[in-house]
Structures are given as C-alpha cells and as structure tokens.
C-alpha cells in the first residue's frame, strides 16, 4: 500500500491550501477572524517546524514554543532596549533561536523518545521561568511592548505570514529532495541502521534541531510584532501541546498535515472559546484517537479515500526513476 506522506501530491496539496488561505481576505473582512487566521498561520509555522523534527527526523521535542519565545524575546529585547526595528529583529530572532537549538540539539542528541521529550520539556519550562522572572529586562508577566509591522493592517500581515509559510514549504521540499532529507527520513525509521549505512547521525540530528529552532524563532518573532507584545505566555507548555495536537490531527510526517491541523485546531479553538479550556479535552481525545487509529492523521484518511494512483506518487515515481 502506498502512502501520501511527502509525495509530490502531498506538497502540491500544501501549496494549494496556502493558495486557498490567500483568497480568504478577499471574502472575509472581519478583523477578528483575520486575526484568528494569522494566529493559525503562526501555529502552522510552529507545526511545520515541529513536524520537521518529530515527523521527518523522529525526534520528539517538547520545545517548539520555547524556540518561538526565544525568537520573540530576541526581537522584543532589541526593539525595547535598543530601538532596533523588526526587520533586523526578526532575522536576529531566527539566528539566536538557531544557536540555542544547535546547543540543545548537541546536548540531547543521544536521547530518544520519552527522554528527549522530558529534557526538552524541562528546557522549555526553565527558559519560560527565567524570562518571566527577569523582570528588569523582560518586565516579567507584563510583557514587552514591541512595534507593529506593516502598519498593523491584518491583510498584509496575513500575506506576510503566508509568504513565510510558503518559503518553509519550498525549503522542506528542497530538503527532502536532497540527500539530507533522505538521511533524516532514514534516521527517523532506524537510527542504528542509518549510522551503519554511513549516515553521520549526530550531524544530521543537530542540523534538524537547528533548522527547526530557527523556523520556530522566525515564527515567534513575527508573531510578537503582530501582537505588539512579547510575553512569557508564548512559551507555555500548553502552546507546545497545541502544536503537537495540530500535527498529529493533521498528519505527522506529511507536508500538508501540519498546515491543515493548525488551521483546523485554531479555528475550532476560537469557535469553542465559550466553553473555556474544556475544548482542550476534545483535542486531547482526538490526538489519542488519531494516534491510535490513523497514524497519518487527516492526510492519511484522505489518502485512503482517494484513488491511490492520484495521491500516492512516491512508489510510482520510483518505478519511473528506475525505468
């Protein structure tokens, strides 16, 4: 049986989805719902970057929101204390997140499964507490006010976020076509087998950690300039939980799944806002059900319903490559 995961059809679907989101501002004028959508795109960025680690490299990190917070506070501190603008602060956020990701990747690269998850969870919480308690620098829970971008207009910000997501998607596609992508997938499936076949597992796991951290850092930095506030809440474990739910529900290890999951969960969260945090119980139950019965999430379900010949391109393309 073939699969949709990371097939050319999967990538096309991801771009089609981003294209569809680009049409939303033409029909939806509500500033509120555009804001919800922008927040969904922020989570989609985190979801894509967490998927690079968990779904593609097999590293179950609990730190995506922590790296977003690193990016957010890098630009926030630069702007608050030094008056440096967002267009310098956002790339700086990516660089600082990448450096922290590289460090964490090196420290934790011998850990797998629950041990890696627990270590990154501890890192996230420690970082959040440090940020929340460094009041003279960060103003603690009050947060740092940071300047807006693009005049604060929702539609241009939405297109900026979409552009960044599209760039992530292109980078993911190029990565997967390269030998680096092949090695990451091999590490995910069998780390011992990969190292025995000459893959420098230490180097490629660190690379995945660094890239994912940089991606989350950009997302966090962009998001605080949209919110015009950097607060320690960005690094809450709850946020990481949401990112994991989004990827698992949408389809871990697929290109489109994290986008679908992020948008669906974010819109559903807003729609269910009145029931309070109880809606998280629904997401938790969904994650358990999807993890148990539909390992490729909604994308896997879609692949089962559609003709394999249309959606499952990898085996066919491999046969062509051999011919």
């Amino acid at each position: 049986m073939g699969r949709i995961a990371l097939s050319p059809a999967d990538h096309r679907l991801a771009f089609a989805l981003l294209g569809a989101v680009a049409l939303v501002p033409l029909g939806v004028q509500s500033e509120y719902w555009l804001g919800v959508l922008i927040t969904g795109l922020y989570f989609a960025m985190l979801a894509q970057n967490w998927n690079l680690l968990a779904g593609i490299t097999g590293l179950f990190s609990m730190a995506p929101s922590a790296f977003a917070m690193v990016g957010a506070y890098t630009t926030g501190l630069l702007s608050h204390h030094l008056g440096i603008g967002p267009w310098v602060g956002i790339p700086a956020g990516a660089v600082v997140s990448a450096v922290v990701g590289f460090g964490l990747g090196r420290i934790t690269l011998r850990l797998r499964g629950a041990y890696l998850a627990l270590t990154t969870l501890a890192f996230s919480e420690i970082l959040r507490l440090v940020v929340a308690n460094s009041i003279e620098w960060t103003r603690g829970d009050l947060g740092l006010s940071v300047p807006g971008i693009l005049g604060g207009a929702k539609a241009p910000i939405l297109y900026l976020f979409l552009g960044v997501l599209a760039a992530y998607q292109v980078l993911l596609m190029l990565l997967l076509r390269s030998r680096v992508g092949l090695f990451l997938l091999a590490i995910r499936d069998d780390e011992v087998g990969a190292v025995a076949r000459g893959v420098d597992v230490v180097r490629y796991k660190t690379l995945a950690f660094t890239l994912s951290a940089a991606g989350c850092g950009i997302a966090g930095a962009l998001f605080v300039h949209f919110l015009q506030l950097a607060s320690p809440e960005l690094g809450l474990i709850l946020q990481t939980g949401l990112v994991i739910s989004m990827v698992v529900i949408g389809g871990m290890g697929t290109a489109t799944g994290p986008l679908v999951g992020a948008l669906l969960v974010q819109v559903a969260s807003e729609a269910l806002r009145e029931v309070g945090v109880r809606h998280l119980l629904v997401f938790s139950a969904l994650v358990i059900l999807v993890g148990r019965f539909f390992r490729e999430g909604l994308m896997g379900l879609l692949a089962r319903r559609r003709s394999p010949a249309r959606l499952v391109a990898r085996p066919a393309s491999d046969a062509k490559r051999l011919a």
């Binding site: 092949l182 091999a186 069998d190 420098d200 085996p315 491999d318 490559r321």
Partner: protein, 241 residues
Amino acid sequence: MSAALLALSGLRKSFGGILAVADVTLAIAPGELVGLIGPNGSGKTTLLNLITGFYPPEHGRVRLLDRDVSGQPPDAIFRAGLTRMFQQVRVFRRLTALQNLEVAGRAAGLSAAAARQRAGRLLERLGLAPHAGDEVGALSGGQQKLVEFGGCFMSEPRLVVLDEPFAAIHPTVKQVMVDVIGERHAAGQAFLVVSHDIPAIMRLCPRTVCMNAGAVIADGPTEQVMTDRGVVEAYLGGHAR
C-alpha cells in the same frame, strides 16, 4: 604476503563481570571469505560490534587497511570501507526499497543519479526490481533482509560483515544471498560471515574461525575447523566424543 585488510589485535570487551570478547587477535586478507561460528553467547556479535564501531574496545586495536579505526563511530568505519548486515533486520520501513539502498550510496558520496543507478542494478540482481517503489515495511521478512543485504554493496566496500544472514529466511532467498556472495567473492570482495548454518559456511567459506566464551578457539581451513575437537566440544558439550 599481502597486508591484512582487517587486523584485530588483543580486542577485549566485557559487560559487568562477563568477558564477552577476550583478547581476540585475527586478520582477514583482501578478498578473503571467512566464516565465523560459535555457540550462542560465544561473543560473535560483540566482536562484530567492536569491529564496526558500535562498541569501543576496552583494550586492543582494530585496523582496516592499515588505518587504526579503533573506537571510531560506525559511520566513519562505513566510510573507511566496511559495511554490515545485522542479525535483526534493520531497514528504513517507510522508505521504498530503492531509497533504502540509496541511503548507503549517498552516504558513501555517490551522486543521486549514480546511487539510483547502482541501487537499481542491485535490486535487479536480488530479484527485487518489481518492489523498487514499494515501502520496505510492506515487504516480507525475507525481502527486507535482501534489501538490507543489498545495501551492504552500495558503497563498494572492502569488507562486508554479515551477521546471521541466513537465519529465518526462505531457501530461495538464502540461495540468492549465497549466489551473490559467491559472485562478489569471485570478483575480489572480502566477507566475514557469522552464521549458525554450518552447511552454508562449509559450502561458502574456505576459512572459518570459531569462538567460544569470547575467545578464538580455532582458525583455519573450514574442513579442519569443523573436525577440531575443541569446536565439536564447544557445540556439543564437554563430553562429546
């Protein structure tokens, strides 16, 4: 006399109080096909783990083509020219058969096109060409073993180490492996084959090494080793006649 391809000197490894490999000294010449036998727990797989970099030796050296590779990681030893097939099948289940082979080729520095071409040829030889585009997790256990076996030849290694390649597979799959080993050996490829399949070792390997309790107890022409009193006693117990 040609220089040794693989030279082990005084290799030792213990786990807690148990000496798994006890000062093993052994050499394999270029192009040699050597069988490694011994009862369960005799230290064969531990020795392979020391050779291929999965365990660092407590004592002793591993030299590959006159280069000291002791304690180097497995990927560095792969690049130095030594590939390995595991006792428990190790494949990339969600990658296709073609991609499984390409991993080793790309890691060895082949271009994408060269790796694909070589992988295609190997799959063809192993009778797996119709499954080139199939996910390996969906293949049978024997086919998965063949995929892993094929991966050993992607980098044109100097020495291929096979750990129980014939265990739990259909005779037709075994025959494919035996034929490929024979062909490659005839072309100058060196092998170290660990197996409990004594008839296969007798048919394939001109030289056999036998281990017991972590030490080499016999090393020489296969027929001679098979009739060695120490080897017979190791397999059948101390009172064998």
